[in-house]
Symmetry: C2
Subunit: 426 residues, 2 copies
C-alpha cells in the first residue's frame, strides 16, 4: 500500500468518499461494541467457576491462623500470604493481604501517606507541594488516585525498556517534593513493554532526595503471559532494592483480579518489614481483617504457583486469538499507510495505538458515532492530556471474537477517515 | 448480703484471706479464658454455613445489574442495596454497598472528610482544629479512628435514654470545629442503652455551627435483639433529619458482620442522595466495585428482612443463655455488696460493669493473672482514659457456656479482692 501522505489530494478525496459509504453502512447497523476497559470475557470467568465449589457448608474453615469465619488475623492467613508471595516473588513474611482489589490497596497507600505520613515523615497533606512521576502512556486509574489528592503529576516518557531513567534519576535524586512513581513493570498498561534488567537496577540504585520516596510497582500482569512458554521476565525490584541498600524504597502490588474474579479476588502488598510495620499501625485502625474466607477459597483452589500458572495457560488460550485478530486486522487495513503504529504485547490486557498527531480524539469520537466505545483519548496521560493527541488504548479481552473483529474493522475505517481529513487540511 | 463498706476492717481482712485462697486455686488451673472482644461463638457462625452452598459452579451469577463476576457497579448490586435498605430502614436509592467491614467504611468516611472534605467544605486536614463528640462509655474502635487523624475527642455522658443532649446541642450548635459525633443508637456498645424518640428528634433538630457536621450513626446491632419478641426500637434518624430540614446531617452504617461472618459479611451506608453523590466521586477513584459475588450470596441466602430476622432468632437463642449466665453469677456473687453495678441489655454484644472508682484497671489486671482476658480498662473512653477508672466491658459471646461461667466467677473474685483493698486503704 502507498502511504497516505504520498497520495494527491484528489486520490485522498476519492478514498474518503468510498470510506464514508462504508462508515455509514456500519452506522446503520446500530452496533454496541466496546473495546474500552480491560475486562475479562465471560469465557475467562467461567474458568474460575470450579473455585466456587471449594468451600461449602461441609468444609473445614480452619487455616493455620485459626477459624477463617471469625474476626482477626489483620495481615491475612499465612497460606494466602505464601500463595501471593510465590506469585509476587516475595517471602510470605514480606506480604500483607488486602481486600478484593489492588486498586483500593494502592489508593489506601497514597491516602495513608497523605494523612499519616510514611514511616514517621511529614504527612503529605502538611506539605506545600507533592509530585509524582508518571511514565506515559500509563494507567488512567493510577493517575486518578494521585490527582485526587492534589499531587502534581509529571510525564516521564516510556521507552521500549522502561521509563526514561535519566529523567527519573534527575527528578528523584534532586527534588525532595517527588514522593513516588507509578510503574507497571511487566506488560505495561497500555503499551506492553517490560522493564529491562538495567532499568530495574537503576531504579534500585536511586538516591532519593525525599526519605519517603516510594516506587509504586504495580505488578498487575505478573502471570498474564499471552505465550506462557515464552514469558517476559522482570527482575525482582524488592530484592534489588535491598541489595542496593534501599530496602524500604518500593511497594509491590498484586492481585488475582484478572486471574479469578475482578472485584472479588484477593490482593496483596509486598514490601520491607519496616514498611509493613508502618502500614499495620494504620491498618489496625481501619479494619479488623479482610475477607479470610475468600483467601482460603483461593488457596485451596490454586494450592500453589503451579496451580496459578496452569490456570493462566487457559486464560492465555482465550486471550491470544483476540490479540492476534486485532493485529491481523490492523496490519491488513493500515499496514504501509503510515497513519498509525501499534504494539504487539507478549502479555497484559492492551494494544496501544498511536495515530498521526492530533487525530486520537477525533478517531475515538468517530468510533463512538458508529457504536464502538473506546477508552477516551488522552486517558493514558495525567489529567487526560495527551500532548500529541495520538495515543489510543485498545482493550481486546471483553468482546466476543466476532464482535472484536467488527470493532477493529470499524476502528480502522475511522483511523483512515480522520487521517485523510488531517492530510487534506494540511 | 451486707455491703462491703459497712464491714469492719477486720471483717474485710478475713474475707480477703478466704478470697485469696480461692483466687490462688483458679491461678493454679492455668486457664485461658477470654471475655475481651465481641466475637460470635463458633455455634453462631455455624448458623450461616448453609449460605456457603448458595453459589457454586452451576449457579447463575446474574443480578439485575449484570454479571456479578466481573468489574463494575460501584455502589453495589440493586438486590443487595434493597436487602441492606430493609435492614437499615432506608430506601435502596439511599444505600451504597461497601466491603466486608463497616469499620473500614467508617474509617474511610472520616479519611475522605480529612483528605477531600465533605460536600465542598474545607478538607479537615487543612483546618487547625477538628473535634468529635464521643458518648461514653463507647466503642474503642470508633474513638481510635478519629484519634488516629489527630481529631480532638470530647466525652459526652451517656444516659439511659442516650447521650446528654443539652451538652451535644451546646457543642454542635456553637462550635464550628465540632465535625461529628459517634453513636451506637440501639444497644449501645458497651452499655446497652437504646436512644429514646426524644433524643433522636433532638439529634434531628440540631443546628450545627459547622456545615460539614455529621452524625456517625453506627446501627451495628439493628437486628441483634436478645429477645426478638420484645425488641427495643429506635426512630429512623435519616427520615427524622429530613423532616427537620437537615437531610444531609447523618450517615447511617450497618453490616452483616455479626449476622453472617465477621470480616466476610457485607456492609453499607445509608445517607441523603447529596451525601452519596459526594461519596461516589471519591469512591470512583478508590475502587471499581466491591465483592459483588458475596453480595449476591447474602441476597440469595436471606431473600429479605424476614430471612434475616428468622436467622437472628437462632443467634439470640445461642446468645441469651450466655447473657443470663453472666447476670446470674454477678447477681449471686456481687448482689447487695455495693461494689459494682452492671447492665442487663436487651440486645447487642456486651454487659457494661462499673466498679468502685479507681478499681477497674486493677480488676482487669487481676483477671489477667488468673488467665481471664478482659477488654483493657479505659478502652471504652477516648484516649483509653476512664476518668473514674471504673468501667469494664464484658463480652459474653465467644466462650463456651462453661468457660464463660468460670470466667464470670473469677471476675467476681477479682472485683471483691480489689474492692476490699480499696476499702482497707481508705
Amino acid at each position: 500500500m502507498k502511504p497516505y501522505r504520498e497520495m494527491s489530494k484528489e486520490e485522498l478525496a476519492s478514498l474518503k468518499e468510498q470510506l464514508e459509504k462504508v462508515y455509514k453502512e456500519y452506522q446503520g447497523k446500530n452496533l454496541k461494541l466496546n473495546m474500552a476497559r480491560g475486562k475479562p470475557s465471560p469465557e475467562q470467568l467461567d474458568l474460575s467457576l470450579p473455585m466456587m465449589d471449594i468451600l461449602n457448608s461441609k468444609s473445614d474453615y480452619t487455616s493455620v491462623d485459626g477459624d477463617v469465619r471469625n474476626y482477626g488475623v489483620l495481615t491475612g492467613i499465612k497460606e494466602a500470604r505464601e500463595l501471593m508471595g510465590q506469585m509476587m516473588d516475595a517471602p510470605a513474611d514480606n506480604i500483607i493481604m488486602y481486600g478484593s482489589s489492588s486498586l483500593t490497596l494502592m489508593y489506601d497507600t497514597v491516602s495513608r501517606s497523605y494523612s499519616h505520613g510514611v514511616m514517621g515523615n511529614t504527612p503529605w497533606c502538611k506539605l506545600d507541594k507533592v509530585k509524582f512521576l508518571c511514565p506515559v502512556p500509563g494507567y488512567d486509574r493510577h493517575f486518578a488516585i494521585t490527582e485526587s489528592f492534589g499531587i502534581e503529576l509529571i510525564n516521564i516518557p516510556l521507552h521500549d525498556d522502561g521509563p526514561d531513567m535519566d529523567m527519573v534519576e534527575q527528578y528523584v535524586n534532586n527534588d525532595e517534593t517527588v514522593k513516588g512513581i507509578w510503574c507497571v513493570p511487566l506488560y505495561s498498561n497500555p503499551s506492553g513493554q517490560s522493564y529491562s534488567d538495567e532499568v530495574v537496577k537503576r531504579f534500585a540504585h536511586l538516591k532519593p532526595a525525599a526519605k519517603d520516596f516510594r516506587i509504586f510497582w504495580d505488578n498487575a500482569y505478573c502471570v498474564h503471559h499471552l505465550d506462557p512458554d515464552h514469558p517476559d521476565h522482570v527482575l525482582d525490584i524488592l530484592s534489588e532494592c535491598e541489595k542496593a541498600g534501599n530496602p524500604d524504597m518500593v511497594y509491590k502490588f498484586g492481585s488475582t483480579a484478572k486471574v479469578t474474579f475482578p472485584g472479588a479476588g484477593i490482593s496483596a502488598i509486598a514490601a520491607s518489614k519496616a514498611n509493613l510495620e508502618d502500614m499495620k499501625k494504620q491498618m489496625n485502625v481501619q479494619m479488623i481483617s479482610h475477607d479470610k474466607i475468600n483467601q482460603l477459597r483461593h488457596v485451596r483452589f490454586f494450592k500453589d504457583l503451579d496451580g496459578i500458572k496452569a490456570h493462566m495457560r487457559k486464560q492465555a488460550a482465550i486471550l491470544r486469538p483476540r490479540f492476534e485478530a486485532v493485529d491481523e486486522i490492523l496490519t491488513r487495513e493500515l499496514g504501509g499507510l503510515e497513519i498509525g503504529t501499534w504494539t504487539k504485547p507478549h502479555g497484559g490486557y492492551f494494544v496501544s495505538f498511536d495515530s498521526l498527531d492530533g487525530c486520537a480524539k477525533a478517531i475515538v469520537a468517530k468510533c463512538k458515532d458508529a457504536g464502538v466505545v473506546m477508552t477516551g483519548a488522552g486517558a493514558t496521560y495525567p489529567y487526560g492530556k495527551d500532548p500529541h493527541d495520538s495515543n489510543i488504548r485498545i482493550a481486546p479481552s471483553f468482546p466476543s471474537l466476532d464482535e472484536l473483529k467488527m470493532a477493529a474493522e470499524i476502528f480502522c475505517v475511522c483511523v483512515k477517515l480522520v487521517s485523510i481529513d488531517k492530510l487534506l487540511a494540511a
